[in-house]
Amino acid sequence: MLEKKTIDIDFSQVEAERMRVNMGPQHPSTHGVLRLEVELDGEIVTDVVPHIGYLHRCFEKTCENMTYPQVIPYIDRMDYISSMNNEWPYVMGMEKLMGIEVPERIEYIRVIMAELNRIANHQIAVATFGLDAGAFTPFLYLFRDREMILNLFEWASGGRLLYNYFWIGGLQRDVPPNFKETCLEIVKTVRKTNAEVMELLIGNKIFIERTANVGILPADVAINFGVTGPVLRGSGVPYDLRKVEPYSIYDRFDFDVIVGKGEMGTVGDCWDRNIVRMREMEESCKIIEQAVAQMPDEPKDVRLTVPKRVRPPKGEFYAKAENPKGELGFYIVSDGSAKPYRVRARATSFVNLSVLPVISKGYMIADLIMILGSLDIVLGEIDR
């Protein structure tokens, strides 16, 4: 008779091994060269460690060797999707430091360009968000409309994605002849496509199931982490620099601040952040229509107030503006010479990404992709 062997396993001590998966720098969904080290317990994410720095181009060090106007093309390349908005806070800061008063027409053109760029940026954000979920078609619809905006930018400044358009004290060159009509056409097309995308993607039951109640970011956590932009507004905080501390001529326009209300899930989930972006496109359309109606036609020379030599007095200034992704700030320290002493770029995506480890614990790896997509980061800004 063989003796029956029994093996005693104390199942409370058996730990399923946690898998460390690397979503490496090259990955279709990480929106750039971002490396995420994900610790998985089956399919549940227990920890995420983002590793950045793959796109570090030493922007701040380079600026110390360039003259003030030469810095502007470098600023474009930070958040390469919304370059017009990038240039604006820097230019505003320099104008305040040097005491330059820019004519009204320039301000109107700047507002229109910035809002068009905001629409273009949100189109990409929503399109790639849908792509991460597996919906290929809205991506192409939105990109088709973005082409109209990029054509306008190419017509005006010579570049499709990187413009060097806002100069200290003015603009690089005047807007093309049919500018106002083209803007209104763009607004019309954007509204039509947005209605389509709302039906096709945002209202789709599968999409709602994928994004509602996923990646919930409470408002106090968001403020403590310094998050800005649609991510903060999606959590219910109505903080929009254009309304709270209006810069340039934003106090002349009538538009709403879109805030996430938790319509499909809880306040601060991925669906909220996404719907904030969709609705902000509509608000930008409103601003563009009003600006086009109010824009004066004189003076035609956009380089009227551009100084021949940019030599600001000794001082320091923190200039900020509402980028599509959040608040972009430039802390400029000048020592009286033609080159800046220190330019520090407070990048939106840098701060927005730091909140990722906190809001993705306990969700599945498919949700991690959606959360990352809803934060809308661009690695050029994070790494500078």
């Binding site: 849908g130 290929f136 599968i206």
Partner: protein, 349 residues
């Protein structure tokens, strides 16, 4: 065999067998080319663009270009992969997909193997694909492929249950598992198709909701069997970069590809046979010659292939646990209820 026109032509010798095997194989290959072209073009039209336009007239030679490209690619095998399983996996999957064609009747005169358990055979052979996927995922020595393979197994096994219920209901309704008999029972025009209750008195209108929901359950579960969006978690694409076939290149990848398209047709064919009359013409006896029958059958199946392609490019994909929820908590109970109703109908017919 008696009804097989090839048998009547050749008699019982080796040529008969060879040609019987060759016809479905040639059909699958030609169909795969058409399906690839269809997918590319339909996807482009849905996305408001033109798609391939340069190869041939308006791009019709694109699939040939794709096949040539895949054949001449370098065959890369990862260093630590399990070579035997890695090489075998795509062929097993293709075998599983292709074996089902043995029992599919293209017309009343041609079915390669007239099995009297045809329905059960097709369902059983469909499980081969799962083995192929798991082998491919595990042998690749890649965490992402393993993830994809594990997801695939859980998905495909859970979705077999609603399909089983659907096929059981059809078997109960028809009283037989033989595919040719199931189709023969749906003769007499469109009103006699099983989706409208099969031939019987007008009481069948009471059961039409059940047949239609059974059809929807079957079609949805078939989408999951073929790993198409909204159920294409195993292929992931945005998440785990092609899942179980991440590491495959060249001809082996082409085999996975072919197997997926072959599966699509099998599944559509099964749906047409069970619910839409197979090779029966919708006009009853009009246009019911054997050649027209195969035309009817292929067009109906191709329509469902088109629907599958259409869904892929419209909907986002479901997450793994939502997928399981849909299968176990939605489709299975609905299929069960329909099964009870339809067996009752089969009884009183």
């Amino acid at each position: 065999m008696e009804n097989n026109f090839l048998y009547n032509l050749f008699g019982n010798n080796v040529w008969f067998y060879l040609i019987t095997i060759a016809i479905p194989l040639v059909f699958v290959l030609i169909y795969a080319l058409i399906a690839i072209l269809g997918e590319l073009k339909i996807a482009s039209w849905i996305q408001d663009r033109l798609g391939p336009m340069r190869t041939g007239w308006k791009g019709v030679l694109q699939p040939i270009a794709e096949v040539v490209k895949l054949i001449q690619k370098e065959d890369i095998i990862p260093a630590n992969a399990n070579k035997a399983l890695f090489n075998l996996a795509p062929y097993i999957m293709f075998t599983g997909a292709f074996a089902a064609y043995a029992a599919i009747p293209f017309s009343s005169q041609f079915v390669p193997a007239h099995l009297n358990i045809g329905l059960f055979y097709i369902f059983a052979v469909g499980a081969f694909a799962i083995i192929g996927i798991v082998m491919g995922g595990w042998a690749s020595n890649n965490k992402y492929s393993l993830l994809g393979a594990m997801r695939a197994v859980s998905q495909m096994v859970s979705y077999e249950i609603p399909i089983a219920f659907a096929l059981l209901s059809i078997a109960a309704l028809a009283g037989t598992l033989d595919l040719q008999d199931i189709i023969k029972q749906q003769e007499g025009g469109i009103w006699n198709w099983f989706i409208f209750g099969g031939n019987g008195s007008l009481i069948k209108i009471l059961f039409i909701p059940f047949t239609i929901s059974l059809f929807l359950v079957h079609f949805t579960s078939s989408l999951a069997e073929t790993n198409r969006i909204p159920f294409d978690i195993p292929e992931g694409e945005s998440e785990i970069v092609a899942g179980y076939h991440t590491e495959y290149s060249g001809m082996k990848f082409a085999m996975f590809f072919f197997a997926e398209y072959a599966n699509m047709f099998t599944v559509s064919a099964l749906v047409t046979i069970c619910f839409f009359g197979g090779w029966q013409s919708p006009f009853g006896d009009f246009l019911n010659s054997p050649i027209m029958q195969s035309v009817w059958f292929v067009s109906k199946a191709m329509f469902f292939v088109f629907v599958q392609i259409w869904l892929r490019w419209t909907l986002p994909r479901l997450r793994v646990d939502q997928l399981m929820f849909v299968s176990w908590k939605v489709l299975t109970p609905v299929a069960f209820v329909c099964f009870i109703a339809l067996s009752y109908w089969g009884l009183i017919k």
